[in-house]
Every structure is written in C-alpha cells, then in structure tokens.
C-alpha cells in the first residue's frame, strides 16, 4: 500500500476498488486481486485497494485515487460503471478499467476507460453441459444470489448447456434473497436452498451467489452430491463434491490490463472475454478429475469449439 502521492521509483501505481464482498471472498474479488498480485510480481507495480462502504463511496473513492495520482484504477464489478464514466472524463490522464462494465447501447468509451466484459453465459454453458451429462436423476439445480440480469446470464447459459447435453434434463432454479446481505452473504440460506433441491432429487447444483454459494458447496459435501463453483476455481472447497467450477478469468483480464499500461499500449473501449480467449472456462484439477470422464470432457470440448466458431449461440436471458 502506498500513501504519498507520486511514486518513489517511478513504478506504475495501481488502485483497485472491490465489489461487495471484498478482498478474501474466495471468488470474484479474489480473482481480480490475484491478477493484481501477479502483475505486481511481474512488473513491480505499486498497488492499493479498498472496498467502498456505501454506494456513493464508489465515485468518491475513484476520485480520491485519481487525485492521489494513481496511474491506473480498476473497479471490480458492474456497479462501478456509472462512476467510472464520470470520473474517467474528469481525469483524462489516469487510466481506468472496469470489470463487468455495463455499457449503454451504442456507447463509446473515452480513451482512458477500458470496459472489460465476460461472456459468463459461455462458461456457464460448458458447466451446464457437464451437469447435464453427469446427472443421474435428470434433475439439476441453479442457485443464484439475487434475481438480477447479471445472474440471469449464468442461469441462461447453464440451462442451455444442460439441455444441449441432455434435452430431457429439468432445471430447478432458486434465488437466495432480495437484499445483498441475504443474496450474497448468507451461506446458511444457500445451504438450505441446496439441501431442499437435493432433497427433491437434484444431484448437481450450479451456484452464482458469492458467499451464499459456500453454503451450496457445504450442502453438496454433506449429502454427497455435486455442486459447481463459480468465478474462482472452488473445486478445492469440497474435494469430490464440487463437480467443476465456472472460472471467470478476471485475474487474466486484470493482469493484461496492467501489463498494457506498463507497456504503454493501454487502450480504452470495450473488451469482451469469452471462451475464445480463455476469459471464461471450467476448472479441472486434482480435486475433480476423478468425477469427469473422458467422454464428458470430449462433449464439453466439442461444445466449446462450437461456441467459439459461432455454431452455438448462447442465450443471456
């Protein structure tokens, strides 16, 4: 962390502002933070980061970082979109990047603002395929945090993928809550939602619910069924009971953004990361390799190919 404005040794200064949940969420924010740490390692950049306490702090915090002469400021989460738009215009010499940027139709971004989007639906499609193939009961589940458009992308891709793998599959959908509290920070609720679905014959549940989802994974462990992690690789959280994780390579996006700034070729505008450029994907590691068969993986890889080539178009709603 740095306090004084201006860098001592001319190293690039990076500020990162987290989404609700903050550093240590083992999920979305941590993924961004990993990318930042990686960049710090690689390029010796200085960095500071914080989590805004209330909505207005997003804009204020961005301004404070800009005034403190940070070179590049990264906002983690679509909630920064509005604030980024405003602040970027006021500080043309500072570079801004916003993860999950939410563009308006036809919007062009200033040169110093990069909007980084992910095609979560594509990754979700692949884990949906895995779920559809894996399920013995033909019933799978989805548990979202809040019933909002961003989470709908996960849901839509997942369902499409599952149906692609097994047209007869039925998907049970549930959302945890209407307040951010209940939606993304209530693992007890997540666990109950999952137990209820498992109790009704569901054998794989994909969650997109932040810390609430930790309860989903715990439920899978408890009743020995399968959960699918999200954002970061969560396979390790219950080895053998996390079928896979839909990884959203926020870390890569952050790393690349910082890299471009270091190398002097940062450019503004929208960038989308999908399957094609490994912006999203699914995780296979020592914790889940025994769960996934060769046949499954080949079907998944075919699907990936089809999506990249555009023969499958994945819905977002």
């Amino acid at each position: 962390s740095a306090e004084q404005p201006g860098s001592v040794d001319g190293a690039l200064r990076v500020g990162m502002v987290f989404d609700v949940g903050g550093k240590g969420d083992k999920s979305f924010n941590d993924s961004a933070y990993r990318g930042l740490l990686h960049a710090a390692d690689q390029f010796g950049v200085e960095h500071t980061e914080f989590e805004p306490g209330q909505d207005a702090d997003r804009e204020t915090g961005l301004r404070k970082l800009a005034q403190a002469q940070y070179d590049i400021i990264i906002g983690v989460g679509f909630l920064f979109s509005d604030a980024m738009r405003k602040v970027a215009v006021d500080y043309p010499d500072v570079k801004f990047a916003c993860i999950d940027f939410d563009p308006r139709p036809g919007e062009t971004l200033p040169d110093n603002l990069a909007g980084l989007k992910f095609r979560e639906e594509e990754g979700s499609f692949l884990v949906g395929v895995i779920a559809g193939l894996f399920s013995k009961t033909g019933r799978i589940g989805f548990i979202g945090g809040m019933d909002i458009p961003l989470i709908h992308k996960f849901e839509a891709g997942y369902i499409a993928g599952a149906k692609y793998a097994n047209p007869a599959v039925s998907v049970t959908v549930a959302y945890a809550g209407a307040t951010p509290q209940q939606a993304f920070a209530d693992p007890a609720k997540g666990k109950e939602l999952a137990l209820l679905q498992y109790g009704r014959g569901v054998d794989v549940i994909y969650h997109a619910a932040g810390s609430t989802g930790n309860g989903v994974i715990e439920a899978a462990r408890e009743v020995n069924r399968q959960a699918i992690g999200v954002d970061s690789n969560q396979n390790y959280m219950a080895p053998g009971n996390v079928l896979t994780s839909m990884v959203k390579r926020v870390d890569n996006a952050v790393f690349k953004t910082v890299q471009s700034a270091v190398e002097g070729n940062f450019s503004g505008g929208l960038r989308e990361f999908g399957l094609a450029d490994d912006g999203v994907g699914y995780a296979v590691d020592e914790y889940n390799e025994d769960l996934l068969t060769e046949e499954m993986l080949s079907v998944v890889e075919d699907a990936r190919q089809a999506i990249v080539e555009g023969t499958i178009s994945v819905p977002t709603e």
Partner: protein, 300 residues
C-alpha cells in the same frame, strides 16, 4: 409444501431463531430490552469459527460461541443495568460493534474482509451402524439434523421449566414485572437482570455458533437480520418459550416454503416476501395485542 425436505429445512432455518429468541426472552423477562440479538448472533458465529479454526474441534467452537455471546452481552448488561443507559441505544450500539468487530477481526486473522476459510463442521449424531437395522432406521429419521438442532429443541423445554418451574424463573419474571417488589424482598434486581441478559448472550451466541458451524464458515454479517426476526418471534410468542418456539417454526416454515416455491410462475421477489407478509397477517389476525413485561425498558 409439506414434503419432508421442506419440514426439515424449516426446522434448521428455525434453529438459530429459536436460540436467539429464547435468549431474548430471558433478557426481556428480566426487564431488559434486547435488540442486540443480531449482534450477539454474529459474535457467536464469529467466535465459534475462530475457536474451531484453531482447535479443529467444533465443540470448542460451540463453547466459544456461547462464551463470546456472554461477553458481548456483558457490555449490554453493564451499560444498561449498571449505568442505566437507554437499553435500545445500548442494543443498537452493540449491533454496530459486533458488525465492525467481527469484520475487523476477520481481516486481522484471515486477511479477508469477507469470510473465514472453511473449518471442521460438526458431525451429525447417529447410532453405530453395527447396531443393525434399528440403528439405521433411527439414523435415517433423526440423523440428518445437526446436533445443535436437538440442543435447541431441548433448550425450549429447559427454558420453559426454568422460567415457570424454578425459583430463579419466578424471580426473573417478577423482576421484569415489578423490580421494586423484588428488591423489597431482598432479591437483587441487578443480579437478576445480569442473569437475564447474560443468558440471552449465551443462547444467542449458541444460535450464532449453529449458524456458522452448520456452514463451516464465518461470512461477514452472516446473521443477515435473523436477530430481528428472532425478536419478532419472541414478541409473537408473547414472551413464552413455547410460543416463541412456535413462532420461530412458523418463520422457518414460511422461509422454507418460500425456498421450495421458487421457480414457479411467481416472481422470486414476491415469493421471498412470503414470510414477512405472513407474519404481518398473522399478527393482525391471530395474535393481537401482546403484553410485554410491565417494567421492560425501565432502568432500575
């Protein structure tokens, strides 16, 4: 709506509420308003995970949760009983304190402002399989509840007995109704109120321990409003253990039904409102006026 999974879920959702509302009841029966239940739950949840994290033993976590609940309610007791400050103010402050302190310490201990790493959970109680089919039968019926669910159920009965069948309970109730009377009989009002408030800390702390240990993790603000719901349940149940228990079951049930109903044609947000609307309707239609302990909220 009546399938077993929903009923199971209802009971588990109700458990932290039951513990917290029993706690609130002891405090309020002694004449001390306790809107700090939310904060105590959170503190208990946090402490239970810290202890489990370091010892690897969830029962150590349970005791830590209870102990931490007692500690933080001690603040409430000192501020509102010894210093005779407004009990609601004290409760609000403790909620804030719990929120800040648990997050702050989460950050200190685990370097995360969001949550702890997963810890060892509590093994479910079950009879040894070697006992044969009887054991298996029993286990399928009761084996799927975490142990603290049984503890909570037992505590409902224990609370009822303590409150209505022991000298302590008699004195506690009298203190909440008419502290002067208790004082003139040579019983210390302060001691009774301390007991009531600290018991609320122990119970709600246990509720917090359940909440966290059942998910094997501490997540910031994981009490998620349950302390307030427990308070409502206590009022709903007219300050009686069995009544509060029934109210918690109702809330838990409404919550479980809500979860079970999702995915039907109704928008989720509307389904999610069911418990709250149900509570309001029930209060108007069935329960009507509840009479709180007469001296509640009044410092002595």
């Amino acid at each position: 709506m009546f399938e077993l999974a929903v009923l199971d879920s209802a009971l588990r959702m109700a458990t932290p509420l039951i513990l917290a509302s029993l706690g609130g009841l002891f405090s309020e029966r002694s004449g001390v308003v306790n809107i700090a239940l939310e904060g105590i739950l959170l503190t208990g949840a946090f402490a239970s995970i810290v202890a489990t994290y370091y010892t690897g033993n969830p029962w150590a976590g349970v005791f830590a949760g209870v102990f931490a609940g007692i500690l933080i309610s001690l603040i409430h007791a000192i501020v509102s009983i010894v210093f005779k400050a407004d009990q609601i103010v004290s409760g609000v402050a403790i909620n804030l304190l719990a929120m800040g302190l648990t997050q702050f310490l989460t950050w200190i201990i685990w370097g995360s402002s969001a949550n702890s790493p997963p810890v060892q959970g509590m093994a479910h109680w079950s009879l040894p399989e070697t006992w044969g089919p009887v054991a298996r039968g029993v286990n399928t019926v009761i084996g799927h509840y975490p142990p603290l669910v049984y503890v909570a159920l037992a505590l409902v009965a224990v609370s009822h007995v303590v409150l209505f069948r022991t000298p302590f309970g008699l004195r506690l109730r009298a203190t909440g109704e008419h502290p002067e009377a208790v004082d003139t009989l040579g019983v210390s009002v302060h001691a009774m109120r301390f007991a009531g408030v600290l018991m609320s800390g122990a119970f709600a702390g246990l509720g917090g321990a359940f909440l966290a240990l059942n998910t094997h993790q501490f997540v910031k603000n994981m009490s998620a409003g349950r302390g307030f719901i427990a308070l409502a349940a206590m009022i709903f149940g007219k300050w009686n253990p069995v009544g509060a228990f029934a109210a918690c079951l109702l809330f838990g049930y409404a919550e479980a039904v809500q979860m079970g109903l999702q995915g039907q044609a109704v928008p989720t947000q509307f389904v999610q409102m069911i418990p709250y609307v149900l509570t309001m309707v029930a209060l108007v239609g069935v329960i009507g006026r509840a009479r709180p302990p007469a001296a509640i909220g009044k410092p002595y």
